[in-house]
């Protein structure tokens, strides 16, 4: 079992296919698989459908795949920070499927857990509920949402051991565990790979069973809204 690859491009070798659905971790620019996104841009794979909470900014995150016109459709909860996204969407070049944030996370978690559908209160009485099965439980109405089964998962973690056990850092965990779970194959980029046995098993956030390939690299970790208070 060898999961460690020398570069992001090597870690994606043989995995990228035109038209594929890629689940990506990250919230805003926090905890995004920035190295793997660059490698996908370099590979030039077209007609992709990224499922990701956000769409990055114009020149970072998923935004770089929008710039190079590699995205056919986005599945997201919030895309407000990306002008190029807005331009492509309003001109009809780009399809968009909005999912409420919790529904998107649960669709990923459910798919990774072998659950093809679940009922939720979120979105009842809104456009999100249109065309979906409604069902009452204990006097309350819920809608049926479907698991989001991805062809490929790309995630970012803080540390991995050589078997792919992952530890995330602070709020950079966000969508990474559910995104990692829902793909047929998952590639994780990390800041550090430590020898197997050096992570406390009680402190592993995501077990290596979900992680098939690992690459270590230098991360820019851009801050979207630098906000400070007076000392």
């Amino acid at each position: 079992m060898k999961k460690i690859y020398p570069t992001a491009a090597a870690a994606l070798d043989g995995l990228l296919k035109e038209g594929m659905l890629i689940a990506a971790g990250g919230f805003g620019l926090c905890g995004i698989p920035e190295l793997l996104l660059y490698a996908i841009k370099e590979a030039g794979t077209k007609n992709l459908t990224p499922a990701s909470n956000n769409a990055g900014v114009d020149d970072f995150g998923i935004g770089i795949l929008l710039q190079s016109k590699q995205v056919k459709k986005m599945i997201s909860s919030y895309v407000g920070e990306n002008a190029e996204f807005m331009r492509q969407y309003l001109s009809g070049e780009l399809e968009l499927e909005f999912n409420p944030q919790g529904t998107l996370a649960e669709r990923m978690r459910a798919a990774g857990s072998g659950i093809p559908g679940f009922y939720t209160k979120t979105g009842v009485g809104t456009v999100i509920a249109e065309g979906k099965e409604h069902k009452d439980f204990n006097g309350e109405t819920y809608i049926l949402e479907q698991g989001l089964f991805a062809d490929l998962s790309i995630v970012k973690a803080w540390k991995a051991d050589e078997t792919g056990n992952l530890i995330f850092r602070k709020t950079a965990r966000n969508f990474n565990p559910p995104a990692a779970m829902c793909g047929k194959i998952c590639v994780a980029e990390v800041e550090e790979i430590v020898p197997t046995g050096s992570l406390d098993p009680d402190h592993v956030h995501l077990a290596g069973i979900y992680v098939h390939r690992i690459v270590q690299g230098q991360h820019e970790k851009r801050i979207e809204q630098r906000t400070v208070r007076e000392a």
């Binding site: 649960e106 709020t171 950079a172 965990r173």
Partner: protein, 208 residues
Amino acid sequence: MWDRNQMAARAALELQDGWYVNLGIGIPTLVSNYIPKGIEVTLQSENGMLGMGPFPISGQEDPDLINAGKQTITELPQTAYFDSAQSFGMIRGGKIAMAILGAMEVSQEGDLANWMIPGKLVKGMGGAMDLVAGVGRVVVVMDHTSKHGESKLLTACTLPLTGKAVVDRIITNLGVLDVVEGGLKLLELADGVTEAELRAATQAHIVN
């Protein structure tokens, strides 16, 4: 009339000791500056954190530590982190006692619209639909009227909904109203505002 900070201070009076609370972006974020003495609340940030601390001092920003508005923040001794699926699990699961949110429109039946203006604004709902569907109590803080002077408290929302019959209380620059059977009930007037002024600025039905 109340300004943004006075509205936030009034909203802070809604907090109860021991509550876990989610604050939305804008005026709701200011509520954390006015938490009454003796009241301990834990702020949730839906990107995966309980126990949200203040903004960092310059030089201590951490790109791995942001709030749901993508702003840099800090942690507290009681802070816990978790992934987005668990974060919204606790929201839908009713563990969060209250959300304080901004709005574009609220109807007299408690319908909330705060995520989309067709043809103009295509940003997305983020976590707002999950929050209003899941938390124990929804308090809206917003200006009573639009920039053009039109009431944002309506008989029925004109914009796409975030949630249907989800709002419990509305705090505006003119006063405080509850959503009750048959319409809105006036609870308080802001400083210097008369009931006639508030009624004149309100399109929704106010019950007596």
